[in-house]
């Protein structure tokens, strides 16, 4: 069957192997002579390392090798941070294993290698580390204060950067406003929790100097570049393979200490070494997300027009910069006006080091925080003015005729029709009906509330001029002699289903069945170049590259077909997988026929090279800006503080949809994670920066039992790009969190209870109810 590019819910090509347990994840890979590493991690948030005693470990017959910070620093440079275009950004040294002191609980101190995983783990208990405990910084606001313990002695203080932006006339807007609403919101620290934890295998062939790294990563090509740089190797001698990757949500969009540690160990020992992260290590030492303390003020007119915003964003960076750490809160500031026409904005961002694991890009990466800030404060404005929150939103929306719209913060929103998405969501939830019922229910002591969130996000990460490591993507489409098609993509999907989406794109472009298309990704030796999968960019950028590669291939195919059919190429039409002359239907060639001709090379135009390959590097002109409207209907139990979601509607607009089933999956999954932030998940640190939620017994990840059914719909506003697509991977995470919290606050509005801290767990809601 010939494939259509849009609107076909093809079942996932990936699933047969994955759901029958035949996928090869990193822990499934076993190499001859493979050894296993375990990593001893700091138990202190901040302490000087006085001595490390490995004597007992080395005497054990199971011991093979060990490496400390002092050993590694001789071979390996600092871990990378690439989001560095921030004036005055302080970048401390970030050795994969520290040499002088530990700066967060979970930081690697020693790696030990043994003949099997359990022995390696047992050996860790024999390592003696003499620490001198130092006072730790747990709270970023305290960390900014003078006299706060110095996390990096070489820096003046713990403030890594201060960034500000002032646009319009903020003072005038505030002085002329009828109301000013202020709030302090906390976007708590979250753990991304991929089902498959991280893992690395390193193998070194001394004879050729070839290092091969299997890593559970979203960005094999970027890992290759940095591992090569850190070890002063040529990129030619480093190969990175991302096998099946069991989820990431941004947590594998990084270059991690373990990738360097394992590389060093493999090079030293000359045998392959594997490390698989334990769940506790995952909670401690894989990047965290969010963690901002935000102060916001909104100035509005009586009619609900919001005329100005002031924001102070304090971003808890953790102890070091990881790949994108400094940029997260800047994205928040840039996306602050959301879907609204607000022209006077002052924002200040302070990135602060604390004694915790780094924060970095977690599903949404700075945009959930921005959406939370603006959507929460819009509701507070509505309450202050005694207006309906839907009406305040409508009054402030950027109207459709103003696109492309230049925001006050300097972004160019590509296309949008925000009122349409909101209208659809209001209708689906029966907004007016519930507003009426709500009054009665409140009288009965039932605290039911409606929460709105109209969001816009920044996706399709590119162009390169706005990206720290390239905003393009590559594709090679190769027609094999048997007519089957191979797509090599620089994207690195890890659960999204793009083997299916991309097969659909290629198949429809070349007029073949998607079963004839194989999609290969995640191996730097096989796929020459790539950036990776993150920031809802894969279909937008990688998918477009695949289509453009097909179009290049088709040009050559058309020339070959014309030669075979003895006609002029300009007379040929391509439809339904065939090149044909319109008035001579018997003169036609399928793509398969052309492929055979291209490889036999006996009947191709004179001077043309044999073979049939299309190569494209796609560089987008702008980001994309998907948007939508989410509405939650919740009920709060006044006695227990428990919040129940009674109804939830999500209307998302990601442009034309290639595979509706996969888009639906992203909306459901994204909702689960956004809801998790609103109601369940938080990483809790004590005053000594010890992580108290370091297992899944304490860190509450919602399961199918907690996730309610949701109703979804879409509007379709194409992006002005090649395919019109916008990306959808993060949309629902961004939209859902404020909708739920707004609903809780709406439910409790008769009691004048406000929610400033997430998650709105029963204990916290109950305390808010009983604060007075």
């Amino acid at each position: 069957m010939l494939s259509k590019m849009f609107g076909v819910s093809l079942r996932r090509k990936e699933d047969p192997r994955l759901i029958t347990g035949k996928g090869t994840y990193i822990d499934d890979i076993k190499l001859p002579g493979m050894l296993y590493a375990a990593i001893l991690r700091s138990t202190y948030a901040h302490a000087r390392i006085r001595a490390i005693n490995l004597e007992r470990v080395k005497r054990d017959p199971r011991f093979v090798a060990a490496i400390t910070g002092q050993d590694l620093v001789k071979k390996c440079k600092s871990l990378p941070v690439i989001w560095t275009n921030i004036a005055g950004l302080k970048i401390p040294v970030h050795n994969p294993i520290p040499t002088d002191k530990v700066r967060y609980v979970g930081e690697p101190v020693v790696a030990v290698v043994a003949t099997d995983r359990y022995c390696a783990r047992d050996l860790l208990d024999m390592v003696e580390v003499d620490y001198e405990p130092l006072p730790a910084v747990s709270d970023p606001e305290k960390g900014m204060e003078k006299g706060s313990p110095a996390i990096h002695e070489e820096l003046d203080d713990n403030i890594a950067y201060s960034w500000s932006q002032e646009v319009g006339d903020v003072e005038k807007a505030f002085s002329e406003a009828d109301v000013v609403v202020t709030a302090r919101f906390v976007n708590q620290r979250l753990a991304p929790i991929a089902i498959e934890p991280r893992g690395v295998i390193a193998q070194y062939e001394g004879a050729t100097g070839q290092l091969t790294l299997w890593s559970s990563t979203q960005i094999p090509h970027i890992v290759r570049s940095h591992i090569a740089r850190m070890f002063d190797m040529s990129e030619i001698t480093v190969r990175v393979i991302a096998p099946e990757v069991g989820g990431a949500f941004g947590s594998k969009l990084n270059v991690y200490a373990e990738e360097a540690i394992l590389s060093a160990l493999a090079m030293e020992i000359g045998r392959p070494v594997k490390w698989i992260e334990e769940r506790r290590e995952n909670l401690l030492s894989t990047i965290h997300g969010r963690d901002q303390v935000d102060y916001i003020e909104a100035a509005a007119k009586k009619d609900g027009t919001i005329v100005g915003l002031k924001a102070k964003i304090i971003s808890d960076l953790g102890a070091y910069h990881h790949l994108h750490t400094p940029g997260m809160a800047i994205l928040t500031a840039l996306m602050l006006p959301g879907v609204y026409r607000i022209r006077n904005i002052r924002s200040q961002v302070h990135g602060v080091f604390t004694n915790k694991m780094s924060t970095d890009a977690y599903r949404g990466a700075g945009r959930p925080e921005a959406t939370y800030l603006i959507e929460r404060i819009v509701d507070r404005v509505a309450r202050k003015l005694n207006m309906d929150p839907a009406e305040v939103r409508r009054r402030n929306f950027i109207p459709p005729n103003e696109f492309p719209y230049q925001t006050a913060t300097g972004l160019t929103y590509d296309s949008g029709e925000y009122a349409r998405a909101l209208a659809r969501a209001l209708k689906m939830v029966d907004y007016q009906g519930w507003r009426e019922k709500q009054k009665q229910l409140w009288k009965e002591g039932k605290y039911v509330g409606l929460g709105l969130s109209t969001y816009v996000e920044i996706c399709g990460m590119g162009p390169s001029s706005s990206m720290p490591a390239g905003g393009w993507e590559s594709a090679i489409v190769r027609l094999e002699p048997d007519g089957k098609i191979l797509l090599l993509t620089g994207s690195s999907p890890h659960g999204q289903g793009e083997e299916t989406t991309f097969a659909q794109l290629v198949a429809s472009e070349l007029g073949v069945s998607e079963e004839d298309v194989a999609v290969v990704h995640g191996d730097t030796l096989v796929v020459p170049a790539g950036i990776g999968t993150f920031g809802s960019r894969t279909t937008v950028v990688g998918g477009t590259a695949a289509v453009l590669a097909c179009r290049k291939l088709k040009e050559k195919a058309q020339a070959i077909a014309a030669n075979v059919l003895k006609t002029d190429a300009s007379r040929l039409v391509f439809r339904d997988g065939k090149f044909f002359v319109p008035d001579q239907p018997d003169k036609s060639l399928t793509v398969k026929d052309v492929s055979r001709e291209a490889h036999l090379a006996r009947n191709i135009p004179k001077g043309m090279e044999p073979g049939l390959v299309g190569v494209a590097y796609y560089e987008p002109e702008n980001f994309t800006y998907p948007f939508g409207a989410h509405i939650a209907l919740v009920e709060v139990d006044r006695e227990t503080g428990e919040v129940k979601i009674r109804k939830y509607v999500a209307v998302d607009d990601c442009g034309p949809v290639i595979n509706p089933m996969l888009v639906e999956g992203q909306i459901h999954g994204g909702f689960a994670q956004g809801m998790a932030q609103a109601l369940y998940e938080e990483l809790i640190f004590d005053e000594n920066a010890q992580l108290l939620t370091s297992t899944l017994m304490e860190y509450y990840v919602p399961t199918a039992c907690e996730v309610p059914p949701i109703e979804t719909d879409r509007t379709e506003t194409p992006a002005p790009n090649e395919l019109g697509v916008k990306g959808v991977g993060e949309a629902s995470t961004i939209g859902s969190t404020p909708a739920i919290i707004n609903a809780i606050e709406d439910a409790l509005s008769p009691l004048s209870v406000e929610i400033d801290q997430m998650p709105a767990k029963p204990e916290r809601v109950w305390r808010s109810l009983h604060r007075k």
Partner: protein
């Protein structure tokens, strides 16, 4: 206790511990910070093991109450690593139990 070795200003001991599912051996170095016989003692202890760390300052104040002696004790413990996460809520009760056992043992010796 698996091992006990006196040092110049205290002792070094090895204990088997089990708090929640955290089980293993912990090495503890105890130092007498201040000793006023029949009146007051202050010790500091540093322990490590089971991917955890423990830093404790502990003082004992003896008070004559007629024929009996009242022992007032205070402890400030900083727990790190695995125990901080999984056992923090259990550590306080476990510490109280251990100190009380210790004092009971002392009483037992004195009353023989």
């Amino acid at each position: 206790m698996e091992e006990f070795n006196p040092t110049a200003d205290g002792f070094r001991a090895k204990f088997k511990v089990g708090v929640s599912f955290v089980k293993g051996t912990v090495q503890v170095d105890v130092k007498y910070v201040e000793k006023r016989p029949e009146e007051y003692a202050k010790i500091s202890a540093h322990g490590s093991g089971v991917q955890s760390s423990l830093d404790v300052e502990m003082s004992f104040q003896l008070e004559d109450v007629g024929a009996e002696t009242n022992v007032k004790w205070e402890a400030d413990a900083k727990v790190g690593g695995m125990l901080a996460g999984v056992g923090s809520r259990l550590v306080e009760s476990a510490a109280k139990k251990n100190v009380e056992q210790l004092l009971q043992a002392v009483r037992g010796r004195l009353e023989v």
